[in-house]
Amino acid sequence: MSNSFIPRWAKAGATVLALALALTACGSDDGGTAVEPKAAKPQSLRMLYASTEADAAAVEAILPAFKKKFGFELKMDSQPLPGVQTKAFAELASNSSAYDIIIVDASWMPSLVGKLEPLSKYINDPKLNDMADTDFGDFIPKVLYDTSVYQADNIIAQYPDQSKVPDAKAITEAGFDIYNLPLQANVLIQSYRKDLFNDPKQKAAFEKKYGRPLEVPKTLDEYREVAKFFTQPDKKLYGTTVMAGVGDWSTDDFKTLLATQGGNGLMIDDKFNMAFNSPEGVKALEFYRSLITDGSVPPGSLNASWNEVAASFGSGVTAMSQNYHNAALNDDVDGEEGYAQVPAGVAQGPHFGTWGLAVNPNGKNKAWAYRAMTWLTAAEQQLTMTQDLLHPTRTSVYDQVQNQTEDPQLAEFYKVMGASLAVGVGRPRLTNYTEVAQAIAVAVNEAASGKKEPQEALDSAEQNVRRLLSEAGYDLGS
């Protein structure tokens, strides 16, 4: 086609556009704005954050110290779930520059990886790590690899050796990158009524009945036995809790038991093997159901989520419970809480999920956003934030907080949490994990209620999960 058909103004426009594109491409290797360590300080930074779920109160408490250190303000916009997820996705989908830092949950990462700023080039540049002791190797390996380390062109892939001390260079050499810095980790732990476990009458009664001392259960068999022992419905006391209602909470319970029985707690591995539908999965559901048929959990457990479980333990209805935070007893309950890791079987793998801070690739102050993130996630700040019960993501913080706190209960809580995170198992890396988790939750609920046998429930869940993955565009092969 002859060029004479193209108007002069269009040719000029195209030339300007081509030049602009060429200049932009030269400026950055990732197609975004260049990272300039010497960039001038902004007047302020804006951060999108999650309210209670990521302990916004702990971060808010250190914002004055941030201003003192950086000389400008960090403005936080905190929203509860599910609003914060919609907001974060909308901001990134529209390439908005409104936020410099965006909080991300581990379960969102498979969808977000292509939309977040890769951080290895920041981590490896000493000029950008000048505001805090960044010590990348201090992050709990399981937490960092699960939450932050992804392969952009193969999102389902897990980092091969998740026990290694994190090293940014080794991560990039293995073909992965880092997409956020973890800040708040939630892991399934066991809380128990210390006052009941230490009660001489209970101790004597237990020893008489079972021929062994009453102790906080460490194995699944002990757990079932102790839960049965404490159950006295006439006194409105039950042994423990289950989150067997339909929702990702029952999937979390199940995947923890699946790992405990020796199965793959991820449920679906990076080859799309349905590890949840396995002999270990059946055993996990059989055990789960036994707690209900024993009558060891309060009525209503088949519709319980973490809220009902916290309410049951808090109001003194149960002797033990499993949840993601320090389960406090209500003021009118005369008792004392203690904490322990969830019971082990042939293996361990409590479910965990972490919130991390990510640089918005469309932000105008990426260098300072990264610096702010390094300061917020540094050991010193995380330790300070434990005063507001932050769940840290660094090994050294768990060590320090246990030694520094004068509250033995808090020391025990953090000791248990640190140990649980070290052996925790995250979620499979699927863009439609919520739908998959719901399908598995239905199976868990139906098996728990006795509507279906465990194997039948898992077969049905596998069929649904395969369909959901296929609809989401995953190639499952034959």
Binding site: V246, P299, S301, T434, E435, E446, N464, G473
Partner: protein, 306 residues
């Protein structure tokens, strides 16, 4: 004397001027309609033919694949059926109970005014709050309902939300509690606006109270029943909070309605293409229902035809 040609020109010019004034006056409303309704509807249709995700990870034309997924998925088809069952059960109960409440409250007295004001309270409560409140009340371990049922000798420890039948009773009960007053107020206003003469004539002819209500008041109330029916049906199809908070689709899949499915796919997996196809199928089903409702409303709008 003006020439015909010129006169015609003036007429056409004035007509054109009137037409353009009308278009100018209508423009804001048309623009709003375009932006708020037509553009999103076209986008929905376009997105339903693609495997689009919000973040653009995939965005390819897939033809009718999303529709095939919806129509071949038994869970989704059951979701449509459950939604229909909920709307039918809840709206029917609300109309019956609303009418029962409206009849005694229509007589204007001080006590009825107080009762009518109290009646407003349930539907003034935010649906999320009422759902959370109901969940607490129904908790068999710590809830009031279980406690008082035990006190009056009824079976205690009813696991309301763990059994499919009682879960439906709870969800429909919450909707009926929340929205019956809305229906009652519409019908109450209707009853108060009815002329007295036909009822007086019926009384003179010897009709008793039931006959007067059945053959005189009820037919005249037709347009108001139709309004309540149409409004509540549309609202009931949009119900989400009660299901999400009370059961989240459980036990099993027994209360999994189509709105929960669309929410999960659209706003948690952000699979916009798949969610759009489900929404369009839902829209088609509603479009089949709306003319029936409108015909019913139209027939009842004129008491002479009722």
């Amino acid at each position: 004397m003006p020439r015909p040609g010129r006169g015609g020109g003036t007429f056409r010019s004035s007509q054109r001027s009137r037409n353009s004034t009308a278009w100018v006056l209508m423009a804001p409303a048309l623009a709003l309609l375009l932006i708020m309704t037509i553009v999103p509807a076209v986008y929905l249709l376009w997105a339903s033919l693609r495997n689009k995700t919000l973040l653009g990870l995939t965005d390819r034309f897939v033809g009718l694949q999303n529709y095939r997924d919806v129509l071949s998925n038994p869970d989704q088809l059951h979701g449509f059926a459950r939604t229909g069952f909920f709307v039918l059960a809840a709206v029917t109960l609300e109309l019956l109970l609303g009418l029962l409440l409206a009849v005694p409250l229509a007589a204007q007295s001080r006590s009825n005014n107080i009762a009518a004001t109290l009646l407003l309270l349930p539907f003034a409560v935010t649906p999320v709050v009422s759902a959370l409140m109901f969940k607490e009340l129904l908790n068999p371990a710590t809830g009031w309902i279980d406690y008082y049922m035990g006190q009056i000798g009824l079976p205690a420890h009813v696991e309301w939300l763990s059994n499919p039948t009682t879960a439906w009773v709870a969800i429909i009960g919450l909707d009926v509690w929340q929205w019956t007053p809305f229906v009652a107020l519409i019908l109450m206003a209707g009853l108060q606006s009815l002329p007295h003469e036909p009822r007086e004539a019926a009384a003179i002819d010897g009709a008793n109270a039931w006959q007067t209500f059945r053959h005189v008041s009820l037919p005249q109330l037709g347009p108001f029943i139709a309004i309540a029916l149409v409004l509540r049906t549309i609202q009931a199809f949009k119900t989400f909070d009660a299901f999400a908070l009370l059961t989240n689709g459980g036990p099993g899949k027994s209360t999994e309605i189509v709105n929960l499915q669309i929410y999960r796919v659209a706003l948690q997996s952000f699979r916009i293409g798949a969610a759009s196809a489900t929404a369009i199928v839902f829209l088609i089903l509603l479009s089949l229902l709306v003319p029936l409702l409108l015909r019913f409303a139209g027939r009842n709008a004129d008491p002479e035809e009722a």
